[in-house]
Structure formats: C-alpha cells, structure tokens
Symmetry: C2
Subunit: 441 residues, 2 copies
C-alpha cells in the first residue's frame, strides 16, 4: 500500500467532486427559501408544522453535481395517517410551483426549485426514534445522529460515495442493491477515513457485523449486518446484495494495492457494432438470447425485483430442460425490459433419458414402464431408464413454449407473454452497449 | 399368469434344446473313452490319478448343440503345485492327440475328441471341500453335491439356461457378468422349477440372499448373494453384475406376464446400412463416437474388464470437461476393440467459467486471481469466477488430446494410444450391427 499514491489519487478526485464555496452558498440559499415556503404554507393552513433539511445536503456530504435536496415536513405525531397525507401534501404543494406527486411508503412531492430536484416528504415529528409511526419518520433521527458526528469527515464520505458510484454499488434501491449514503457515512464513522473503510473491508468475512456504537449483541443470518445506531434492531445494510458486498471487498483490496482515479471515474464504454458483437459471440462460441418486452410504466423498485425474479425463474426452467446459461442479466429503459442469457448449451438432441426407480421396486417400476410406454425402456445401473422424445431441443423453442409457466411477477407477466425473443446481434440496440459488454466479460 | 401358455412355450423350447437319447448315448461313449485314456496315461506315468466327468454333461443339464465336456484329472493332494502342473499336463497331453494348452488359475488342455470340445483340467483330489488347494478343486465337489439333487429337475435347468442365454446373461465370464450353469442349477433346486425361479426372481430385492441349504447367517454388502452349499463363505453369484441381476428380474416379470418363445430364441437383428445409421442419428439428434483400436490377442476375461474400465475412465474424462454421453458400450472381435459413445453434448463454447473461493477468503481469492490472470475475473454469488478459454470444444479433440491421460488398463493402453476415432456412420462395419442397434435403443 502506497500512502502517497492514495493521497495523490484522492486529492485529484476531491478536486472534482467537492462542492465549491459558491455552490454551497447557492444551495444554502435555495434550502432556506424552500423551508421558509414550507413554514409559511403551514401557518396559512394553521398546522403546527415546519420544514427540516435532511440527507447529504444537511450534513455537507453531497457531491458537486448532485442536485437532490430532501426536505421533510415535520407534522404533529397525534395526527392520523390520513390527516398527515392530506395536510402534508397540501403544505408541500403550496410550497412549490412545479411538482409531481410520488409514492414510496406514503405520498410525497418531487418539485423543482432553481434547477434542484427537491423531495418534500411529510412525516410525523415524534420525539423519540423508538416511537416512529412510519419508516420515513426515522430519517430525521438519522440526520440528527449523523450531523454532529460526521463533522470534519465530510471529504472521506464524498470519496467513499464516489468510489461506490464508480463500482455501480452506490444506492440502496432494488435495482442497485448497494450501499446507501447513510451506510457510507456510518462506515466512515466506524473506520475514521475513506482509506480506513477500504482497509477494513479488505478483511470483511461472510456474516460481517459492524456496530458503530458498540452496544448490544446480535444474532443474525445476514451476510452483512450494520446496526443502525438510531434503531439497533434495524440492519442498515439490509439492501446490500451478496454481489455488492463481495464486489466492494474485492475492489477495496485492488485499490489499496494499485490506487487509480479510474475506480472513481470509470472510463466510458465505447459502443459495440452489430458486426463486432457477432464476431465476439463467434469467438466465444456462444449464443446470446434476449427476452425483449414492452413494459408498463413502473418505478425501478417495483420493476427490478420482478425482473430479477423472472431471470431466476427462467434459469430454473432452463436447468429443468437441460439447457445451460454461461451468464445472464436484466436491463430496463425507455418502456422496455430485457432479460439476457449467454448460452453454454442452447441446443440438445431430440431424445433424452429419464431415470426411473430400481428394478427391484416392482410396483413403482411397473408404473414407470406404464407411464413411459411405448418409449424404449432399458436398465442402467439397476434402474429403469426410459428413452423419450425431448420436448424442447433449442432454447428459443423452450422460451416460446414455457415462458408462461414461469413465475414472472404480477406486473411483468402480461408484458412477457407478448415479448419478442431475439438472438445474437439482433439483441443489440443503442443504449444496450454498456450492459452487453458487462455481460460478455 | 397363464400356466397353460407357459407350459406350451416351455414344451416347445424343450423340443429344441433337450438332447435326444442317441446324442446322450454318443456323448456317454465319448466320455467313457476319454476317461479310459486319462486313466491309462496315469498308470503309464505311475501316478495315482483318474479322470472324472464334471459339469453339465455329468449332471444331464447340457443343452443339445453344446459340445463342451469338462473332465478333471484327479491327482494326489500331497503333490506340490509344480508337480501337479507338470504331471497333470503330461497325463492330459498323453490322453489327447490334437490339443492346445490354456491357462486359467492354472494350466489345462483344450482338446478335440470326435467333434467335442474337451477341457482336461488337473486338480487336487482332496477329501473335503474345506481342504481345497486351488479354486478348480472345488468343481468336483459342486458336481457331487448337485448330481444327486438335480435328478428329475434337468429339464427345468435346461429351460433356465436357455432363457438366460436368450437374455445375454448366461455365463460367469467377465464379458457377460451373468449366471453360471451351477448358479442356474442352484436356483432350480431352491425354487423347484423354471417357472418357480422366475416367480421368485420377480420379487427379488437389492441385497437378495439365497441359501439353498438354509443354514448359517450372512452379513453381505453384495446386491445378490447365493451361498455355495459346498463352501458357505463363497458367493456363487459374485460374478453377476447389477445389470444382469436387474435384467433377469425385469424379464422374469415380463415373461410370466406374456410368455413367448422369443425370450429363449431372440429374433436375429437385421443389418443396418450406413445410410440408415446416418438417418437414425439425425432423427435422434446425437453424434456417435467410436474409439477403434487394433488389440493384441488376449482372452475375454482379461480384455473385457479393461475395456469396461477404459469406458468408465473416458466417461469421467468427458464429465470433467463438461461433455455428456447419452449412452456408451464396448465391443470386441477379430483383433479389434471399440468403445462407443452416443453424445448428448459433444460441442461446447470456446470459453468456460471456473468458480473460485468466496471473495471473503482473501488469501485463497488472491491465489485464484493470480492463477487465472490475465483471464477476466468477476464475482458471482459471492465467489470469484474466472472466464477462461476452454481446452477442448468438441469431443473428438478431447479424445485425441486426453485419451492418454485416462487409466486404460495395462494391455490396452498401447493399443488405444494408436487408435482411430470415428464418427457417426463411419463407425459402422459388418458385425457391429447388433451392437449398434443395442446401443441406440
């Protein structure tokens, strides 16, 4: 590990991602005016509520170019859920001019103020984290916990977030299944610096437990558990997939070994032409198969779990029919979703063997013979074996015939039922380059 | 089960296989004259020895057309092994005019007397089966045990032997791995009749134990144990493979269900042309691959175990390299041996994935990455995975490249090293029809 080299790399990265004094002042101004609007709208509606900045903007851990501001509308905890939604949304709408209504655990407003994307989120202003009435109520407590503690470590958080971003594992959303901003901050608190986090992660084990406050014992089956100081029963890393966890460990080691700015700013992938893709597949000796569907408008947190589930169901279908994928992946964009497979075995003979019970099991043997008559039945290793026609001899036929029988997720099943099945270079379109190159490593 | 139909079938079979009075008289005459020659040769050499007829000819359980006569030369048990071989062979040679010397556990003479193939086998004339000095010494005791007991059941034995023959499971030799003549006789003793044996076998279980004398307890891991009344520590069915055992059970049930003469006299297989074979393979969607070697002259009991061993070793080789055979078999004849495979997967991509240790195992992970550099390495399910070039992408290349590395049996390895590897209809030659049709069921 070359400390000087790491220092030189991180300095270069910070130059690009750390907001300037002017940007910060500008942001502070925008925030102050939004909070004023929220407070004013609250008074007008005669509600005992106020606006509160939370998230990275509140803690000085936002990166230059990030334009997201989270402002929570803190409403009295004795309101009913219905009241909160109605009153909260009214305050939000009265505070903004251009907005759209969104829905996570409960509704909120996404508005635009002077080029910033601002989420106005109504929540209950409970006086203790143990009394929260909905998941969003926890966020202000995260903010309070982190704000004072992260003081002086902001640059380290910026570096870690940018590093995670470069690896494609920044964000707890279900498409990414990576590390949230709050999780990055907790890791910096735990290990003291960006470099410290990477050093620590290099030695993480399966079942790793991180407990910043060091209190309490935990019995968890999770591969990675980070205890929330605000709510010790909650795993802040619950969204982190085994894949993201492993990738972070692996790249932490590589970075410490040979530091480079490219981890933070990956080199953009150049496009791939249809001919180049055809040549690549020929060189690999594989077939590329895509299930390509037009999909209804839905948020990524709904879409991606269903796509991943469908991908797994289709891999199981292939296995049941003796086909074998070398790799697979999902992609979505522009009202279109793709599930892709690179095939190791995509063609099979017209016949297959089914192994039955041992010959010494007379009744079961008789049923097996009766079931598979008139197919040839012989004996192998003491068991009955039937040689039967294979239902599907190539992967496209299998998908055309059996996709319906897979468990595909309720929003996707209709879309997938009328999907196209594409092969090799026909799979490609503009925008899919990066994904294809990632799949065909 | 239709008793009348079974009776009608077995009567028809017996008409064909039961020797006539004339044949029996002729055989008796030949046997008497050989024994006389043996006794005379013994006197001339001043040895206290005599000839003794054993085997099916001695017990009236030989089938018409079988021309094998076994005559044992009973020598004094106080002789040394060397003396026995020297004196025994001298007596044998002096008794015959045309002969060849052969070697099983110890040497014997195969001679021809008036069209009969006669084995003259020297053995120790011990007075109790527990005192035998070599395996052949047991045979006269088998003869003594069976001769009186099988009296009146000869026809049942003839039927069972013919039935086993029709199924290709008659004989304890290593090519067949089936039921010996003595074992057939023991089964008839146990179950009382041909039909009784089949009824019994229909319900045989794995680990079946048959104890004709009903004495003693046995702790055996053999799938099929028939206790030798002459030596209760010996399994008469030791040579019976799981395949032969299972086949006999299965066909016993089928025969009792729908009796037919064709079980005893199978319909000869018609030849298959190269075109028909090509069409058949196309219909099945498979490739047929043969390893075709010129082999040195050796007896089947040496050749076949080595061929079976080579077949298994090659199947393991295929599996290691991700190829998959739907079926396989061995054939030998005319100084030529073949190992055949019908391929389910005979072609594979140019690349493959190798799964390494979990990312959390730092040292092992580092070794894995170093070992497979510069191949692309990525993470799947928390494990390192390397994408490497596949060494062999088709089965013929694999066999050409790796056959040498298989454990092929000492007499075969040289022959197989200079073998030809044939494909599809090129595999075929006159005489292989039956075998090919059996393989491509």
């Amino acid at each position: 590990m070359d400390e000087d080299q790491i220092k030189s790399v991180t300095s270069e990265v910070l130059l690009k991602i750390k907001p300037t004094k002017e940007t910060i002042d500008e942001l502070d101004g925008v925030v102050a005016s939004i909070i004023e609007s929220v407070n004013k709208a609250s008074s007008e509606l005669k509600v005992d509520a106020f606006g509160k900045l939370v998230g990275s903007a509140a803690r000085g851990t936002w990166r230059s170019g990030e334009n997201d501001i989270d402002i929570f509308i803190m409403l009295p905890p004795d309101m009913s859920r219905e009241e909160l939604e109605e009153v909260g949304l009214s305050i939000a709408k009265n505070s903004a001019s251009v907005f759209e209504e969104r829905y996570a655990e409960h509704p909120y407003i996404r508005a635009n103020f002077e080029g910033y994307d601002v989420d106005l989120v109504p929540c209950f202003n409970v006086d203790d984290a143990s009394k929260i009435k909905s998941a969003v109520d926890r966020t202000p407590f995260h903010n309070d916990y982190m704000k004072c503690r992260i003081n002086g470590l902001e640059d380290e958080v910026l570096l870690l977030k940018q590093f995670m971003g470069g690896l494609g594992i920044y964000g707890a959303e279900l498409k990414v299944q990576g590390f949230s901003g709050y999780l990055c901050e907790l890791l910096v608190l735990k290990y003291g610096s960006f470099q410290g986090v990477l050093l620590g992660a290099s030695d993480w084990k399966s079942g790793q437990i991180i407990n910043v406050e060091g209190t309490g014992t935990h019995d968890s089956k999770d591969p990675f558990l980070v205890i929330d100081p605000v709510d010790p029963t909650r795993n802040v890393a619950a969204a982190v997939s085994l894949e993201s966890f492993s990738k972070f460990i692996d790249i932490s080691r590589s970075f410490l070994d040979v530091p480079s700015v490219t981890y933070f700013f990956p080199i953009p992938v150049s496009p791939i032409s249809k001919e180049a893709l055809r040549d690549l597949l020929k060189e690999r000796g594989t077939e590329l198969i895509a299930i390509d569907a037009e999909i209804p408008d839905m948020i990524d947190d709904v879409l991606f779990p269903q796509l991943y589930k469908a991908e797994k169901a289709i891999l199981r279908l292939m296995k049941r029919h003796d086909f074998k994928a070398l790799g697979s992946g999902v992609w979505a964009g522009d009202g279109r979703a793709l599930i892709l497979f690179e095939m190791e075995v995509g063609k099979l003979p017209n016949i297959k063997k089914i192994t039955g019970p041992p010959v010494t099991f007379r009744d079961r043997g008789g049923s097996f013979k009766a079931k598979h008559a008139p197919s040839p039945i012989f004996i192998e290793g003491g068991n009955y074996v039937a040689r039967v026609p294979r239902e599907y001899t190539n992967i496209i036929e299998l998908l055309r015939g059996e996709l319906d029988s897979c468990s595909l997720g309720k929003n996707l099943s209709t879309a997938l039922r009328s999907c196209k099945i594409l092969k090799d270079e026909d799979v490609l379109f503009e925008g899919l380059d990066l994904f294809i190159k990632g799949l065909l490593v």
